[in-house]
Symmetry: C2
Subunit: 244 residues, 2 copies
DNA sequence: ATATATTGGTGATATATATCAATAAATTCT
DNA sequence: AGAATTTATTGATATATATCACCAATATAT
């Protein structure tokens, strides 16, 4: 059986096809791992560990040493900034076939965010020393990683800036549009995330988020029940996002 | 006369000693430009332009094409995120001998922030194509830049997270401690920045900032007049920063 | 299937913060 | 030096948002 059909704990997967981190198809990682020769890819991956996390489990914990980077093979995870007094901020949802390097230098650093599984998640842990080694050997790869992390950081910063600049309706609109267009890429889409988590993506309390959602429903912008949301008037929602 | 004593417009400074971007002493840029050979440094700098900006002038404008990076030779500048409806957020104060690359990939990108002079500023504009060229030739430099931009981004993100997580007193405390310990490195320190700008560093209105400052004065944490602030009880201010 | 815990939802109220208006002080201009 | 403009300050008020308390609905365990 190939490791792809057996995503349970596999420890040291010498026969892995690497497709958890290097899909031949759509995957955004191609801009990164696609630059590596088979030998280089092997040097990076041959001691990686593939691990299954259950929904809700913490994959990486803020403030712990940064020793591995993580590729999500399948499932969905959230990137959380844990603030004082239990105030969490969800900065990003990571989907299948995405590396998560962001949130630290490569070496001698700690994790600046927590990553937790939102669904069951299969992922690979890759040694940062191997990554660093590869960087010293493949300059194109270094430059690609530089661009990749810049992009990631700017996205997260943009999210944060929106959170500090906008009123609640604008922030809720942002969250809904992000879920529809980036995370689930469908309309209607299911609520895999709890209201609490959606609130943490929008920088507000659960109660406030629910109230905002209800107002959108009342004014016909969306329709929703316990399990799903449908965006009915995306243009108007984008207008709200632009702050009104 | 060397360009160092003549920081006015100098255009194409073939005889420049590069110390605007490569100080032999304390400068944080050493971790970057210190890695370059004289030839490499020359290839980066030989067509750079040194320009003087007057206090208040815009050096780089958000959303314009990213064609050059900027080194501050002397003076102080602010990094501003210009939001909709004139809501500005000052993310960072840049001092002498610091590169500002942050806020974009190296190529084919636009500026994600505005940079404006807070005092009179002498700075050099360096072609990003030259930088990119150097990256392709010097891997150590690529890795150093990767680490440098990661650091910068994380600092800014930390600032933003504080702005979204904390109440006003905590944010004002953060701003004051940042000014004392990072920007001016003295106590008391002068108000070069206007109250409006200090408020934009703290994510609030000018009026709210002033009120907060007054409360700190009343409870003996600081002393201030129109021109300067002195932090009297730094420990207590740090306590406020940790949110109370 | 029933009990128990968790999540979703609503209203009343408190609090943080912005806005508006008015004046005072400082700076710049002529 | 005096007028005009900008910046700082204060108070009164409005608004956005959080908190608290409570119940309904769903999921989970026994």
């Amino acid at each position: 059986m190939s490791p792809n059909q057996d995503p349970a704990h596999c420890g040291h997967c010498s026969e892995c096809t690497y497709d958890c981190c290097f899909s031949s198809r759509d995957c955004g990682n191609n801009q990164l791992f696609g630059l590596l020769s088979p030998e280089e890819l092997h040097s990076l991956m041959d001691n990686k560990r593939q691990i299954r996390f259950r929904s809700g489990e913490t994959i990486l914990k803020q403030n712990t040493p940064l020793t591995h980077l993580v590729c999500i093979k399948n499932g969905m995870a959230k990137v959380v900034s844990e603030g004082a007094k239990g105030k969490n901020l969800i900065l990003e949802i990571i989907k299948s076939n995405n590396v998560f390097t962001v949130g630290g230098s490569i070496q001698n650093d700690f994790r600046h965010f927590t990553v937790a599984a939102v669904t069951d998640v299969d992922c690979c842990f890759i040694d940062t020393n191997r990554l660093y080694n590869l960087l010293t050997r493949n300059n194109t790869f270094s430059i690609a990683l530089l661009n990749y992390t810049n992009e990631q950081h700017l996205k997260m910063m943009n999210t944060l800036i929106n959170l500090t600049n906008k009123y609640m309706p604008g922030r809720v609109a942002d969250t809904l549009l992000y879920l529809k267009n980036v995370v689930f890429e469908s309309n209607p889409f299911n609520f895999i995330l709890s209201k609490q988590e959606l609130a943490e993506m929008s920088g507000m309390t659960k109660e406030s988020f629910i109230r905002s959602l209800k107002e959108f429903e009342d004014s016909g912008l969306i329709r929703h029940n316990r399990n799903a949301v449908e965006i009915l008037k995306e243009n108007e929602l984008m207008e709200v996002s632009r702050n009104g």
